[in-house]
Each structure stands twice: as structure tokens, then as C-alpha cells.
């Protein structure tokens, strides 16, 4: 693993830390996979697959609960200090962020059901194009933030924070595009609202990825950067 989790005099302590670390990565992988699947159902116009995605969210919730139990146990047994303490707190927070990513993914899957499981006319591809690009962007952010966590790479975490401001811009311009689209064709208003909800969910996932990146920076430097400007974060790291 890495030096945050290894080297304790008590070997079991290492094992427990590594287990938790891997659990986070596992939850992260599952969340990423869910996101991909949800977007896929949207593209495939497949509401039944979307239902599968929603039911798979329960798996994520179970892992979240398991992670909670594990780190409470670890706190009781080991009374972590310094970087172990930060690691535990980071893990705890990252897990709940990832669990919320799952919730957002569920919203996207619900979107598929809502759009394609009714008799109404399917939406224009144009409406859903932004969702696809943003999903790819957000998926990348999530991936980088998890790599940053795994490798304790503050620079990668910083990248995620940078990407988040790009995402904000992307989100705003996507909204603008949708607005123009609706102005041209007012019948598409129903689908547009769905699309906005989807974009909103993706924007939130990006926010969670940014949070995770912030925790990673806290884990490495010991200072909480979540509510600081990008410049001041950069100054602290470099």
C-alpha cells in the first residue's frame, strides 16, 4: 500500500488500515462503474438495465455501512494519531461522499426510466449529448481523485480541484445550451427538465470528487482546504 497505512509496530494495525484503504477504493470503483452503467442505460434507452443499476446501489450502501463499522472499530482499538488519524477521517468522509455519488447515480438511472419507460416521445439526442460529455468529465474527476487518494498524490488532488472549476463552467454552458434549445422548441420542455436534473446530478458527483480531493490534501498536509481558494491551496502544496 503506501506509507500512510504501513510500518506500524503492531502488524494487525497495518492490516486493518490496508483493509479500510482497499474498501474505499472498492467503493470508489463500484461508484464509478455505477456511473458508467447509468449513462449506458441512458444511451441504450434501456429502462430495465436502469432498474438493475438502482438495485445495485444497495450494494454500495452496504459497503458504506461496513466501512463505518470498520473504522469505528479501528478508532476503539488503536486510537489513531497524526497521519493515521487523518487517514481514518479521510476514509470516513470519502466513503460517505462516494455513497452520495451512488445516490446521484441513482437519480440518473431514474432519469432513464422516466424518459424511456413512458409512452411519450423520446427526446432529441441533442438534449442528452451534454449529459454524456459531462458524465465522462465527472467520471475522470472521480477516477483521478481516487488515484490521488491511493497514491497520496497531492498534485493529482489539486488537478481534481482545478477540474471542478472547469466542470462548473461546463455545467453553466450546458444549461445555457439547453435554454436556447427550449426556446427553439418549447415542446421539449419536459425532457429539458429531465436533462437539467441529470446535469445537476453529475455536477454534484463532480463536487463529491472535489471533496475527496480536498480530503486527500488534508490527509497529506494536515490542513483543511475545502473552503479555500485554489491559489491558496496551490501555495500550501507547492
Amino acid at each position: 500500500m503506501n506509507e500512510m497505512t504501513e510500518g506500524h509496530t503492531v502488524k494487525r494495525y497495518d492490516d486493518e488500515m490496508i483493509f479500510l484503504h482497499r474498501l474505499v477504493l472498492e467503493i470508489g470503483d463500484l461508484a464509478q462503474d455505477q456511473l458508467r452503467q447509468a449513462i449506458q442505460t441512458l444511451n441504450d434507452k434501456n429502462p430495465s438495465a436502469a432498474r438493475d443499476v438502482i438495485s445495485r446501489d444497495q450494494e454500495l450502501n452496504d459497503l458504506d455501512i461496513q466501512a463505518d463499522e470498520e473504522f469505528i472499530n479501528l478508532i476503539v482499538k488503536r486510537q489513531p494519531m497524526a497521519k493515521d488519524l487523518r487517514e481514518i477521517i479521510t476514509i470516513s468522509k470519502a466513503v460517505s461522499d462516494l455513497e452520495r455519488v451512488g445516490d446521484e447515480v441513482r437519480k440518473i438511472a431514474q432519469l432513464t426510466i422516466h424518459i424511456y419507460d413512458t409512452d411519450s416521445r423520446p427526446p432529441n439526442r441533442q438534449v442528452l449529448r451534454d449529459i454524456n460529455t459531462m458524465a465522462a468529465f465527472v467520471g475522470n474527476m472521480l477516477k483521478i481523485s481516487l488515484i490521488a487518494f491511493d497514491e497520496l498524490d497531492a498534485l493529482k488532488a489539486l488537478d481534481v480541484i482545478r477540474l471542478d472549476s472547469e466542470l462548473e463552467e461546463e455545467y453553466k454552458s450546458a444549461l445555457r445550451r439547453l435554454t436556447t434549445f427550449v426556446m427553439e422548441d418549447s415542446r421539449a420542455i419536459g425532457h429539458m427538465v429531465d436533462a437539467v436534473l441529470g446535469l445537476r446530478a453529475l455536477e454534484r458527483i463532480g463536487g463529491h470528487a472535489k471533496n475527496i480531493a480536498g480530503y486527500v490534501i488534508f490527509l497529506i498536509t494536515g490542513s483543511d482546504v475545502r473552503h479555500e481558494s485554489l491559489e491558496s491551496i496551490e501555495k500550501q502544496i507547492i
Partner: protein
């Protein structure tokens, strides 16, 4: 990965200390963190301790502020107890022990040749690892210090001192009906509080505690810790402890010693959540082989 090693590497500490004299005195053994405080009661500069040829403490600089509890932690044999014992010259009793450097108590060098060690120890009291009441009555234990220093003129004054000392040590209610019974008949925690009462009966300015809870059960430990917290209002306290949790609970500042060097000193919260030195980090996270 590479970034990470930079942060905790001992060669380039993240926080560079600002004390000029420190930088002058140290080369590769820079103490990480701020060694000085704005209202110091004791100031230690370039303190070295030798046992014969062996150097036990290596150029330690540290201030101890008024009304603060400073905790000294570190692995066994790191010199924290030795350093503590320098502060009231308890090391004088060891023949081979030699102390160099400067330790000031309120601007008075306590290692001054002309300074008498007896009044110094009245000013800087000490509580030891093992509760060590005298094999005398509870009353005599507390009264002994004021009596030998001639602090009181009459028996009734002495009674007042004994009562107030026992009260401040949180022991009065437990022993007021049996002051004439032997101090060694008390429980371990009570004995240790008796020792604290005995120390404060002399009216010291600084109280040194050398692992005061290591022989006690958790409840007695909690009582002593509560007492330390209360005593802080009147005294300056330096405590050596093996329990990091204890250091985190009772102290405002924490100093980490390693092989005779003062590695890091800083606010207790900072030391326990985000230590700057790799050695400190390894010690408090339990990574010493």
C-alpha cells in the same frame, strides 16, 4: 509519492523555526516547531547532559510558559526524564552526571555555582513515577516540606497548610478523618495525590511530574489528570508521560524527544494531528520497530 516524502522528511521540515539563536546553535539537528513562548517561566538553552562519557541530552532548547502544561513524550531512553530532572537539579545526586548549558527559572540560572539547590527544589517541586509517600502519617507527609523550610510558625498555621494542600490535591475529603494514619496505607492513586499535596504544600512555582500515572489504574489516572488540569491555573507543570493519549489530554504544548534530541515541539493539537517531523509522526502513530 515523491511529494509525500518531501513533506515529512527530516531534512526539510515544513515549518522552519524562526528563532535566530536556534539556527545558530543547531546544524542538522534543528528542532522543529517554536521552542519559545511569550511568557516563559523556565528557559532552557543549549542544555547538554552527560552520564560519564555518554551524552544523554544533546543541545536542547525549550521554553516552559506560565500556567501551561507541557508534555514530554518519546521512546524509552530518549532523555525526557533526564531533561525533566535537570529542571530541579535532581540529577545532582548522580555522581557521573554533568549538565552544561543554561536553564533559567525566572531569569535566574539554576546551574549557577552560587545557587543553593535546596530553595530551588522548593520552587521547582517534583512528583515521581512510583508514588513514594514517606513512611509516616498522612499529616506528616504533607507537613514535612513546610516544616523543614520553616514556612509556618505555629501548629495551627501548619494545619491550615496541610488542609489546603490536601484540598487542592483533591484528597482532603478522603483522608480528613485519618490524617494520623500512614500515608503508605492509601491506594496507589491516593498515594500519588498525597505526593502532589506534599509537593504543593511547599508552594512551588513549577511542578515536574515524571510519569505520574504509570503505576495507576485508569480511574486514579483520570483523577490525577483532572487535578493537573486544575493545578495549571496556579502552577507551571512539566509532565513526562508514556501515554500519548495522556499527553494529548492534559497538555497545551508537547515536546517530542528522540535519542537525546528535542525533535519537535508545538501545540499539542498540532503535534497529535499533524506532526511535522517524520520521527514524531512515526512515534505517535506507533511505527517504531
Amino acid at each position: 509519492m515523491q511529494f509525500n516524502t518531501q513533506v515529512v522528511s527530516p531534512v526539510t521540515p515544513l515549518m522552519v523555526c524562526t528563532d535566530i539563536e536556534l539556527i545558530a546553535a543547531h546544524d542538522n539537528r534543528k528542532t522543529v516547531g517554536k521552542i519559545s513562548v511569550t511568557n516563559p517561566r523556565m528557559r532552557c538553552r543549549n542544555v547538554n547532559v552527560f552520564y560519564g562519557d555518554k551524552q544523554a541530552i544533546n543541545r536542547v532548547n525549550l521554553d516552559i510558559g506560565r500556567h501551561e502544561v507541557i508534555a514530554m513524550i518519546g521512546p524509552s531512553g530518549c532523555g525526557k526524564s533526564t531533561f525533566l530532572r535537570c529542571l530541579n537539579r535532581m540529577n545532582d545526586t548522580i555522581d557521573s552526571c554533568r549538565v552544561t548549558g543554561e536553564i533559567l527559572l525566572d531569569d535566574q540560572d539554576i546551574y549557577d555555582k552560587k545557587l543553593d539547590v535546596v530553595p530551588l527544589r522548593a520552587q521547582v517541586g517534583m512528583v515521581f513515577q512510583k508514588p513514594n509517600p514517606f513512611p509516616k502519617s498522612i499529616y506528616e507527609n504533607v507537613a514535612y516540606g513546610p516544616r523543614i523550610h520553616g514556612l509556618v510558625s505555629s501548629k495551627s498555621d501548619l494545619d491550615v497548610v496541610v488542609e489546603s494542600s490536601l484540598c487542592r490535591a483533591g484528597l482532603w475529603d478522603e483522608v480528613k478523618d485519618r490524617l494520623d494514619q500512614p500515608g503508605t496505607g492509601l491506594s496507589g492513586g491516593q498515594q500519588q495525590r498525597l505526593c502532589i499535596a506534599r509537593t504543593i504544600a511547599v508552594g512551588p512555582e513549577v511542578i515536574l511530574m515524571d510519569e505520574p500515572c504509570s503505576a495507576l489504574d485508569p480511574i486514579a489516572t483520570a483523577k490525577i489528570e483532572g487535578l493537573i488540569d486544575e493545578l495549571r491555573e496556579e502552577y507551571t507543570i512539566a509532565i513526562v508521560t508514556h501515554s500519548m493519549q495522556q499527553a494529548a489530554r492534559v497538555s497545551q504544548r508537547t515536546a517530542y524527544f528522540h535519542l537525546g534530541d528535542l525533535i519537535e515541539v508545538g501545540e499539542t493539537n498540532q503535534i497529535f494531528t499533524n506532526p511535522q517531523h517524520k520521527l514524531t509522526e512515526d512515534y505517535i502513530t506507533g511505527r517504531f520497530g
